[in-house]
């Protein structure tokens, strides 16, 4: 059943949903897009952050967004450790680090999943906050506040990360290491330290992204599996390493998914992300916002 009202609704919800997808993909845009680390455990880190937020909300009544900010430094340290472990055990040892790295990160993802089950059980968990469960009414349209929160946080995160990567010394160093690691080494900088720092930033971002994940919908220990495809799709479609590109690609994906879901039949929705990815790669192999190498 088609109506312009439904189409408008679908576009608005699609933009908000896309912003949420962007927020959960930005960390991967750094770790995979800029650093070439096959970080398939990214969604598992995300779910871990959600559970940390759940713990703080449930036991101390801390607002989920504040809880997300509180765990950010811990996740930064966790990222530093995870990259050092990956580097020492895989990356340092040879050119096939990518393939073996996937196995490493899959292993990490499984360990995280089991640890969450042991600590919190297998049930779904959710958080409470004043903006969850309410909607903003504009005429006949109602927009859930939790999606507006995702929209705002994604926008702020994108601006901050884009600024950090383009305007600060460390940010430029991260982009340099992504372009030519050897050149950086010849200039006397330690590319591994820079990559470790960047991986720390990518993981720290997950603190706030994990908060959004549990604000938007309840989480369970295996939710990471549902996000592997979507997050990698957004990052590759955007063009590896582009923050604003990640936001735009995620919004395009969100709108496409919601329009299909609302107007053309929900069964097709999961295929949309991959169909769009294939289409983009066929026309622009470097992604929508990537530079041709």
């Amino acid at each position: 059943m088609f109506s312009f009202e439904l189409l408008l609704d679908a576009v608005v919800i699609g933009v908000l949903l896309g912003c949420f997808y962007a927020a959960v993909s930005l960390g991967l845009s750094i770790s995979f897009g800029l650093l070439d680390v096959p970080h398939v455990a990214h969604p598992a880190f995300l779910v871990l952050a959600s559970y940390a937020v759940f713990f703080l909300n449930e036991h101390y009544g801390i607002d989920p967004l504040v809880a997300g900010l509180l765990i950010t430094p811990l996740f930064f340290l966790f990222g530093l450790l995870a990259y050092r472990l990956y580097y020492e055990t895989f990356e340092k040892r040879g050119s096939d680090a990518g393939v073996r790295g996937i196995a490493f990160f899959f292993g990490i993802a499984f360990i995280i999943e089991v640890l969450i089950i042991l600590q919190f059980g297998v049930d779904q968990r959710s958080v409470t906050a004043t903006y969850i469960g309410k909607a903003w009414r504009i005429g006949d349209m109602r927009i859930p506040f939790r999606l507006l929160v995702a929209f705002a946080v994604a926008a702020v995160l994108t601006v901050l990360l884009a600024f950090y990567l383009s305007k600060t010394f460390m940010g430029r160093a991260i982009r340099a290491v992504a372009q030519d690691q050897e050149a950086l080494r010849l200039m006397g900088a330690n590319p591994i330290r820079i990559k470790q720092w960047a991986f720390g930033i990518a993981t720290a971002v997950l603190g706030i992204s994990g908060a959004l994940l549990i604000i938007v919908a309840p989480v369970d220990p295996t939710l990471d599996r549902a996000y592997i495809g979507r997050t990698f799709c957004v990052v590759v479609m955007a063009g590896l390493g582009s923050m604003t590109g990640t936001l735009v690609a995620a919004i395009i994906l969100g709108i496409a998914e919601t329009i299909v879901l609302t107007l053309f039949g929900a069964s097709w929705a999961p295929a949309i992300s991959f169909a769009m990815l294939l289409g983009v790669l066929a026309v622009r192999p470097q992604g929508l916002f990537g530079r041709r190498s």
């Binding site: 059943m1 109506s3 009202e5 439904l6 609704d9 679908a10 919800i13 699609g14 949903l17 949420f20 999943e113 089991v114 089950i117 919190f120 059980g121 297998v122 049930d123 779904q124 968990r125 959710s126 409470t128 469960g133 309410k134 909607a135 109602r142 859930p144 506040f145 999606l147 938007v216 919908a217 309840p218 369970d220 220990p221 295996t222 939710l223 549902a226 919601t258 879901l261 609302t262 107007l263 039949g265 929900a266 069964s267 929705a269 999961p270």
Partner: protein, 418 residues
């Protein structure tokens, strides 16, 4: 005289001790009766799978405390199927060929059970089903016995749509997850709606990975149905109810719910809290008068203690008592037949009524319950973040079947939500 009494007492005690000692040794020495199954311990179905397994474990401990079966201890061999249909055929092959189990219990839920039906039929094994829906309808295995109280395939949809029609509903919207269980429910709902002369104004399947339901619910609302029948799995049920609360579903909806899995689990109900109010949904056991049978109270006392330690559903109403009942049925069959012969056990299960903590169970020819034991209940007066409230009677008022009815339907849905 005293010496003779003392001597007699000593001999009696020695003989008794020897007898019990030998019996205990025999019980320990006999190989155990192995019951094999896979169970969702991780993945989307794990919340139910773990509770179901605990129910079966409580039965195992009870039966072993009474001396086991055929003088042998009962042992459970359980593997995690990760809630995945692709895992179960290999697991059940291993249970049969490597572990050499004597009895098979099915995994929890339709999706993991469906792919192993041909294997079990081919190997001529009896299978006690565990809350799957219509997995035997096409396979036709004559040694399949489902512990779930679904009854005839259409009874689930009939009970819900009948309530809707009595409330004045003429049009129906169907929203179902795009997987085996939910699609089976939707199929029967379509047939029942046609039979009752109702018009289907919205019929949508959504993919199980759906993150946000606002778009679908908006399209559903635009169709202006009187009755909304939802067949969803736990992760989606919470998303749908949240969406309904935010977007609204329309003033004309008289009845909402029907087949939402997840709204029976303690943690999900606690999380959703007041969002549950007004929803009419299926259930299998509730703490309402008329649902208690011999052993039910003792079972829940035992389960509740162990559930906290095992970090599983602290209420355990939905699956755990039926896990226990599976054990009770096989216990009665083995005791009556006196062996583990699969055909003889199946014959006994087919031809008799079995006394369990969820009530008497009689099977139809297709291995499903002869009469439905599913109840349709409406959530009432639920507050946020309170698990204990669900232990009280009156929080889920039974509307169907009539013999268990504990209240009347509050309608329309928007009014019932307040």
């Amino acid at each position: 005289m005293k010496r003779r009494t003392l001597l007699g007492g000593t001999i009696t005690a020695a003989v008794l001790g020897l007898t019990f000692g030998l019996a205990a040794t025999a019980l320990a020495q006999q190989p155990p009766i192995k019951i094999g199954m896979s169970m969702a311990q991780t993945g989307g179905l794990a919340g139910g799978g773990k509770a179901s397994q605990l129910g079966i474990e409580v039965w195992r401990d009870d039966v072993n405390a009474k001396g086991g079966l055929l003088g042998r201890k009962v042992e459970l061999i359980v593997y995690d199927d990760k809630s995945s249909a692709s895992e179960t055929p290999a697991i059940y092959s291993k249970l049969l060929d490597v572990d050499k189990v004597d009895i098979l219990f099915a995994p929890y839920a339709t999706v993991p059970t469906a792919p192993l039906m041909p294997l079990v039929k081919q190997r001529g094994m009896l299978l006690i089903g565990n809350f799957s829906f219509q997995v035997n309808s096409k396979v036709g295995h004559d040694m399949w016995f489902n512990n779930a109280p679904w009854g005839p395939a259409d009874s689930w949809a009939t009970s819900f749509l009948d309530l809707g029609q009595k409330a004045g509903g003429k049009t129906v919207a169907l929203l179902a997850a795009d997987q085996e269980f939910a699609q089976n429910l939707a199929k029967t709902a379509r047939e029942v709606a046609t039979k009752l002369g109702m018009q289907i104004v919205f019929d949508q399947a959504y993919p199980p990975s759906t993150v946000e339901f606002s778009g679908i619910l908006r399209a559903l609302k635009a169709a202006k149905p009187d009755i909304v029948y939802v067949a969803s799995y736990p992760p989606d049920s919470a998303g749908i109810l949240r969406g309904v609360n935010e977007i609204g579903i329309g003033d004309n909806v008289k009845l909402f719910g029907g087949g939402m899995v997840g709204l029976q689990f303690g943690a999900v109900m606690e999380n959703l809290g007041s969002l549950l109010n007004g929803v009419v949904n299926y259930n299998t056991w509730l703490p309402e008068p008329g649902m208690y049978n011999e052993g039910t109270k003792a079972f829940f006392e035992n389960y509740t203690k162990r559930a906290v330690e095992a970090k599983v559903d602290p209420l355990g109403y939905y699956l755990a008592p039926y896990g226990y009942a599976s054990g009770q049925m096989i216990e009665q069959a083995i005791k009556a037949v006196g062996s583990l012969d699969q055909k003889a056990l199946a014959k006994y299960l087919r031809e008799n009524t079995h006394k369990t903590i969820v009530g008497p169970i009689t099977f139809a020819a297709d291995g499903e319950w002869k009469e439905t034991g599913v109840v349709q209940a409406q959530f009432r007066g639920i507050v946020d973040k309170n698990m204990e409230q669900f232990r009280s009677s009156g929080k889920q008022v039974i509307l169907f079947p009539d013999k268990m009815k504990s209240g009347t339907l509050v309608t329309p849905f928007e009014a019932a939500r307040k």
